[in-house]
Symmetry: C2
Subunit: 338 residues, 2 copies
């Protein structure tokens, strides 16, 4: 009952990508975990630059790279033939290979064979660990914060990362807990909760944030939304198993319907708070909202300030856009949490 | 995007079982679907009698059996070596093989080979169909009833089966929709919802109860309980995707804590109704409770009558124990539903 995890330092593999948009995973790793990154490697024609030293596979191995991490998306999700040789070279030189693409690394026979011979691991961050338990509901020591949402794809991962970094910068004990593939790639550990069989979702969430020091915060990346017509079950299991003491509601200014489900209006922040508390108190009676995180990218700076201020008055909670204004206010609330 | 389904008539295979308790699946099939059962087959030493004609594999094949259904549980969940020869004989004579045991039938190489050569299917009712979709939340034509619970294992399947039979006996259009392995074995179709990956649970529930006539009832077997600390996510996804018009709350008289989770008090019937409506109205604004189904096995007949009567007064809903008193009252509520 272990999480997925992989070892730093990394060589980040960028294929022959020329569009930085498709290298978001690699860029995220460099943004949030620069100390884990040793270098980058492009194939001929590739132009994406993450600002890391350019290293060949052999150079990276000589400098002690422990993992080759695939930092780009690929059209269709499959691994191009031209990559396999590179991955095999890295595996042969002792690096684990880490990917979040659709093809399973172990389904490439020659790569699987090379990895076996070299004694390295092929780590697919989309594949949950085996033998996950059913949730116990038992209260675990340590403090937990979960980012929840009015919808998918509006900043739950970013919010959790920003909170964790701010807390760590202040010297607080805090760990980001990744529940999705990109978060796992960025942090080097986690469980892809949405890929877990339904019976074991809350158990997986328990494994994701295990027993810890009484003053340690697990900052857990939320998934989906309780009100989501497609993914509500994922959010439910993650909430029950995370048993958060505190949660932050993430939303996007101007989003009015569930993205991709236009018949479903976005729930209000109050509705999300009420439902999260109602369900979450089953495994943590003390659960409460401590902040609001808003993606204000559709607003001007001035509008954003006014909007956040109005949310603070309305809900009596600190509200921020962590990209624009940082996570200070929310981490203040964590510091004074009791 | 199909449900699991298999063809009647069946030969029910009982191995060398001597204890009727371990042949509950076979007994359930005979109880609820006698018209689908052609005969039974025991191995030497087996004494369980479901009251069906004793047929050899060859006799069953000659009489047109389409499926051999394994009607007993086995210790450890694995298929004994002594069974494989029998299963291969049946497969060789054109029968599909249906099982709900832990070992996958297709993982027995000689059986897989025989099935391939004979052009028959190996159907594992624990394995969900491939390529299930994400839930759309779109309202589907037809009426739907879901049995929900205060806990696991207190009669949600039985209640749904009893309601379906009573409705069909009255000439109403009604179909039992199985969401668990035993229900699938009994009814010959369904999806094991708890084995579906979390992202696709509500989508699986949509596939389970597809578009139907406006006056047709799908009577959907519930799973778990929204208040369950281990299985809440399963119940959530099933509720969202089933989009029931009506639900029946199932409970057990005298059960005070969640079975196996002694730190968790059983929710009240009112709490279950409130939470089911709160969550369910997202995909069906008209959702409402229409009855209460109680397992009164711990009460005397007199106590049961008094208890059900008190529940009816308290909740303003018909209450019955379908094993003792049938599902009449609940089907009355369905007939007058509008």
């Amino acid at each position: 009952m272990q999480q997925i995890s992989f070892q730093a330092p990394y060589l980040i593999f960028l294929g022959s990508e020329t569009n930085p948009t498709y290298a978001k995973t690699g860029a995220g790793i460099v943004q949030w975990q620069p100390e884990r990154c040793l270098g980058q490697f492009n194939l001929p024609g590739g132009t994406v630059d993450l600002g890391l030293p350019q290293l060949s596979i052999a150079e990276a191995a000589a400098k002690g790279a422990k993992s080759l991490v695939i930092g780009t998306a690929v059209i269709g999700g499959a691994i191009p033939e031209s990559w396999v040789e590179v991955l095999e070279q890295a595996a042969g030189l002792g690096m684990d290979i880490v990917a979040g693409v659709h093809t399973r690394l172990s389904d490439i026979p020659s790569l699987a064979q090379t990895a076996l011979e070299a004694g390295v691991k092929l780590i697919d961050v989309r594949v949950p660990p085996k033998n996950l338990p059913v949730g116990t509901g038992k209260k675990r020591p340590g403090l937990r914060l979960l980012t929840v949402g009015t919808d998918c794809a509006l900043g739950k991962k970013y919010t959790a990362l920003a909170i964790t970094k701010e807390a760590q910068d202040r010297g607080m004990k805090a760990t980001f807990r990744a529940s999705g593939q990109t978060g796992i790639m960025i942090s080097g550990a986690g469980i892809p909760i949405d890929a877990v069989v339904a019976d074991f979702v809350s158990g997986a969430a328990e494994v994701l944030s295990p027993d810890n020091d009484a003053d340690h915060w697990d900052v857990i990346e939320g998934q989906g939304a309780l009100h989501h017509p497609g993914y509500g079950a994922v959010s439910m299991g993650l909430l029950i198993g995370s048993q958060p003491d505190a949660f932050v509601v993430c939303t996007e200014a101007g989003r009015e319907v569930v993205s991709g489900w236009p018949d479903f209006p976005l729930p209000s922040i109050d509705e999300v708070i009420e439902r999260t508390v109602t369900i979450g108190k089953r495994t943590n009676p003390g659960i409460r909202a401590i902040g609001i995180s808003v993606n204000t990218s559709k607003l001007s700076q001035e509008e954003a300030v006014a909007y956040l201020s109005s949310l603070e008055s309305q809900h009596g909670l600190p509200a921020t856009d962590p990209i624009r204004f940082g996570a200070t206010k929310i981490v203040d609330a964590m510091e004074s949490f009791s």
